[in-house]
Amino acid sequence: MALKIVKGSIDRMFDKNLQDLVRGIRNHKEDEAKYISTCIDEIKQELKQDNIAVKANAVCKLTYLQMLGYDVSWAAFNIVEVMSSSKFTYKRIGYLAASQCFHESTDVIMLTTNQIRKDLSSPNQYDTGVALTGLSCFVTPDLARDLANDIMTLMSHTKPYIRKKAVLIMYKVFLKYPESLRPAFPRLKEKLEDPDPGVQSAAVNVICELARRNPKNYLSLAPLFFKLMTSSTNNWVLIKIIKLFGALTPLEPRLGKKLIEPLTNLIHSTSAMSLLYECVNTVIAVLISLSSGMPNHSASIQLCVQKLRILIEDSDQNCEPSVNACMKYLGLLAMSKILKTHPKSVQSHKDLILQCLDDKDESIRLRALDLLYGMVSKKNLMEIVKKLMLHVDKAEGTTYRDELLTKIIDICSQSNYQYITNFEWYISILVELTRLEGTRHGHLIASQMLDVAIRVKAIRVFAVAQMATLLDNAHLLTGNVQRKGICEVLYAAAWICGEFSEHLDNPTQTLEAMLRPKVATLPGHIQAVYVQNAAKLFATVLKSQEGNTDSTAAQETSQLMIDRLPLFVQSANLEVQERASCILQLVKYIQKLQQKDVEIAEEVIALFAGELNPVAPKAQKKVPVPEGLDLDAWINEPPSESESEDEQPRAIFAKEEPKHSRPRHTEVDEKELAKRREARKQEQANNPFYIKSSPSSQKVYQEAPGVEHIPVVQIDLSVPLKVPVFCPTGLPMSDQYVKLEEERRQKDRADKKKKEKKKRKEKRSGRGKRHDSGPESEEDITPAHMVDIVTEEMPENALPSDDDDKDPNDPHKALDIDLDKPLADSEKLPVRSHRAAEVLKSPAQDGDAESAASQEPKKKSSKEKREKKKDKDRDRKKSKEDKKKKKKHKHEEKGEDLLGGQAEEPVVQSEATSEVAAPPTSTTAEVSDLDFWLSNAPVPSNTQEAATVVAAAEAAPTSEVASGTAPDSEPDEPKDTETEETKSSKHKKKKQKKEKEEKEKKKKKKHHHHHHHSDGGGEESVQNGTVEEEEPLPPMSNYCLLAENSYIKMMMEDADKVNDIQGNLQDGSQVVVSVIFENKCDSFLKSMEFNVLDSLNSKLQRPEGSGPHDGLTVPFQLPPGVSNEARFVFTMQSIITPQKLKGTLTFIVKNEDSSTHEKLDFKLHFTCTSYLISTPCYSDAFAKLLESGDLKCSSVKLEGVVMPFHHLLARICFRHHFSVVERIDSCASMYSRSIQDHHVCLLVKTSGQTVSIDAKCDEPTLLGNVLDEIKQTFSQC
């Protein structure tokens, strides 16, 4: 053994080390590859040895060879071996090699998890450091998930060296495992204030990187960053923070105001150019965000542009020239930011930009090109493009020239060719561009040619002529190999000539050009277009020749086709071959007919009849999914899972989110179906993407939404002009257009002058000035052509969506997570444990799906909260006004209604106190923190900060109190006035009685509020009891008696009807109440008005425009003995406790001879059950939900229940809106969901007369109430 070690190490002495390898490679310059391959063989031998030192040496050499471009992935396992060496020296070599060549699909990475974990917890900080560094390069989703917890622990390591690395690597972990972001974020945030500057810098780095992609989620960190900005001295940190602020200011203009001062201070104090520049950049961003909508700020923008101009123009003699060049570059870069929002300010520096276009530095030229995009106008487009064309000629490198080419096309085609006044000029520019050698953008030019020719009808004659010339001179384009890219334009040329062949001067000649043998050397797809369009041309030629008496010409043309087409029939390209043989046979047949003197031109033309309309590039995506089509739904139900999984949910009564909770299929009646079918048909008829069933409908389509119906951008014209000399391709024709254009404009101007002289009465102030200074305004330039720019077609009722540009694969999308929400219990990083094999299967996918599912409602809710807050703010204002009014009102009424007035005050007060006691939701607190910080208060110093935060936290609930009082106090008023009216009218006799009632009501109301806000369960249950007792429950009907008198009986169903579920789910706060009105008397009941006293929590939804206390008219009348049902929608804020609302129904009882006004008081009782929606849930999803761990547990026992188990279940299902997930013998799991997405799970077990119900829900209060209600249900039977 000892001998072996010695032998190994002696071997090692004679092995090549890295230096030897490098030296060897340098000495074998002639046969480097051969030398290296022998070295690799040696390395392979070394790797086979047991000695780790030898292996490490080999791996080290491999790392070098990897840099030279040799694939070393075959040694991945050996790299892992070296990584796991106990010696730091080898470990480091191993990790370096791994970081250079491991990636997500390296399978041995799976083996490293435990080794890395071991290294992370090593007592030697450099072992840990090396592992972190390596991991940062090859972390995979699996590694991220498995190690997230370990890394998070390291974030609080005692050594700052480890802390900073751990903090930094968290970003990579977030990217690969987005679920870790929320659990890890609090600690990350903490690290922003780490005593070590390195750790702080790392935390800033990570948060800035996160915030850059989803800035709005990090807005609440602004105060913290602000503090850092004013306290940090690390320029790198400052730069990052300032860049981050640059991204945040557009979201929050108030932030900008706060930033200006410290930024200005930094600009004055710093000596670091890099920091200075970023400050300036952010100041620009601030100014932009401030000036949008505020004209007075554009002056400061102007100033900024001026300063940037100085930066670009002047060079500091003391600096290196390259530094000056850098500043020039950055100046232009900053300007392009301003250009986006303030094009006018930049446009005045056109001279500078054009000058930069001549810079010797390509980077600067490219920046200038970018700026040019925003500078063009109708007036200067030709001039600018002319200049660019000169550059195209001069440019040496193909990259820059290609860039120029794309820019020219970009500039000209921007916003629907807005700035092009003369399309002949544009076509000739495009033709000139085809002269470029070796460009990759032949395709781009071709598509422009096609686009213009198709969309600008007026230009077709000219375009066709140009294209014919191109085809004629095709040899120029295909001449040498280098021009491969450019031959794409022939594709466009051939198509245009064929499609618009009626405009050709000499179609026969073009046809001949298209059938030349040389064409066979073109790429297949171009040949195919040639062949197809040759056929179109042939049809046109036939048409023109048919009128002639002499038929030989026509026959000659057919002969030409027959002679030339066989060449294409032999083509190796399938498309070409197919088209050619088809057309060849067709022509042969035509020839036969020609010989019989049959007139066939019309029929041949008919082959190609009809016009093709341009379709917008994103049209396909915008086609809306037809109503009722669920693309995610199974067409056939998937085969059921294995039995073993079926057993799971019973065994574990634990928790998780139901992944598969699918949308319920709403039952649709026949009528509805018919309606939908009709709608779909209508939609299809208007949709170009549907293949129509009958040819007639196709025609209809062609005519109806055809060219005439497409919105057309009309540009009117004056004199159409022609370039007198028709130049062959290759001569810069466009210049002549520029000249002509100038002449034309001058003429126009002269004309206008004349006109103006005639119309003296017009104010000529503006115009006069323009004449002096020379340039004309945009409107003065008339285009040279009558141009219809046909806009592209979009499918009807296309979905307006802005997310087209977003890359669905962007890893940062998954990190768009609300970080202000408090952490749920389930949000923990996975801790090391033995996982079952099946969990391993697809952890990444599972995770994604779960997170998506769980994030959706979260985001929604936070948004809702914010919106609600806004609403409240609005309400608050309103309520103040209302209050004022009310006070006046009160004074007037005081004498009469003293009692009511007094009762009012305490109610409000109790309200307020209870509100204060309620803890504010954290979101509102956060937001208001930020609001407070952003409000115009003086910049808080460090000591003040804490105080302000506290103050803000206090401010939040008080504001809620203020807003909270309003809606509650409102309903009191209408009562008073209403009763007042009634008193004054018919029912004067009952006055006394009424007043008594009034008192009672007030008392009850008070009581009600009390109940509402106290969380004491006992009191509630008492109330529940009293109410429930009154309800006579007919078997298995959810209707219960609401109120009854001699005239009318009201029955209520507190459930939501099937039809309404969707609405409910969307709103999450709506409950529909169905009330049956039954006329019990012999009289006719009419003018029924249903009114409810809204509480803070529940409101009756009233039609828009009506006040908060108007009654709702019941939309029917009731003849004697008839009953009818009406539905009322209520909006609920909180659904976790049962609610009671008092209401009144007023109606008129009409007899033959008289009519009386009657009223009926009732109480609406919203049980917690009524907020539940029976939702089907699959057992696996159910199990997941239970496993998830964020549900609170509760249970209840029912004694003395004598009914079969299935009856019991049916009762729970029916009464309490649950659905059975699974049932085994005397045990069943049930599920329901509230309208606000609380999950409620039940496990019902029965033994004898005892029924035990274990329940879980993410909202304990709701659960308690539901269980109480269930108990009630069974206590009554």
């Binding site: 730091f88 020296t89 930094l168 810098s201 980077s363």
Partner: protein, 161 residues
């Protein structure tokens, strides 16, 4: 984020390549060649920023480079990095190399690419800047080298005892 760090000489020979995103070896070589092609044809006194480069980048990415004697130091970064900040970082990197190798020259990089990697690892980690303070970087590098030395002598001791 930094996407890649490349060092090559005036002839385009790679002296160090560190990609923070995975490419296969052939693409890496192509990127190095292309980058060299782009950078080498630029004058000395033009700016140090470069757009384009088909393989690496896209519109959000930039090449930021410095030329020292026979070597080009090129960083490919996205828009979250400050251009001038990266230029400073390159300077810090070169100065650190100079301290660690005592008057660094191309030969040092040729023969000790592993050491260069180790130094770089203390500055940039997984594409993010870890440390910009030269002294801190040197301290950590030295400490690790010392550890390595003690291990080597220990190994030798093992062998000969």
């Amino acid at each position: 984020m930094i996407k890649a760090i490349l060092i090559f000489n005036n002839h385009g020979k790679p002296r160090l390549s560190k990609f923070y995103e995975h490419y296969n070896e052939d693409t890496e070589q192509q990127i190095i060649r292309e980058t060299f092609h782009l950078v080498s044809k630029r004058d000395e006194n033009v700016c140090n920023f470069l757009e384009g480069g088909m393989l690496i980048g896209g519109s959000d990415y930039k090449l930021i480079y410095r030329h020292y004697a026979t070597l080009y130091f090129v960083f490919c970064v996205d828009s979250s990095e400050s251009e001038l900040g990266i230029l400073d970082l390159i300077q810090v990197f070169v100065e650190t190399l100079d301290k660690c190798f005592e008057n660094v020259c191309e030969l040092d990089l040729i023969f000790h690419v592993d050491k260069v990697h180790n130094i770089l690892a203390e500055m940039v980690m997984g594409g993010m800047v870890l440390e910009t303070n030269m002294n801190e970087i040197i301290t950590q590098v030295d400490a690790q080298n010392k550890m390595e030395k003690s291990e080597v002598s220990l190994t030798l001791f093992d062998i000969y005892s």
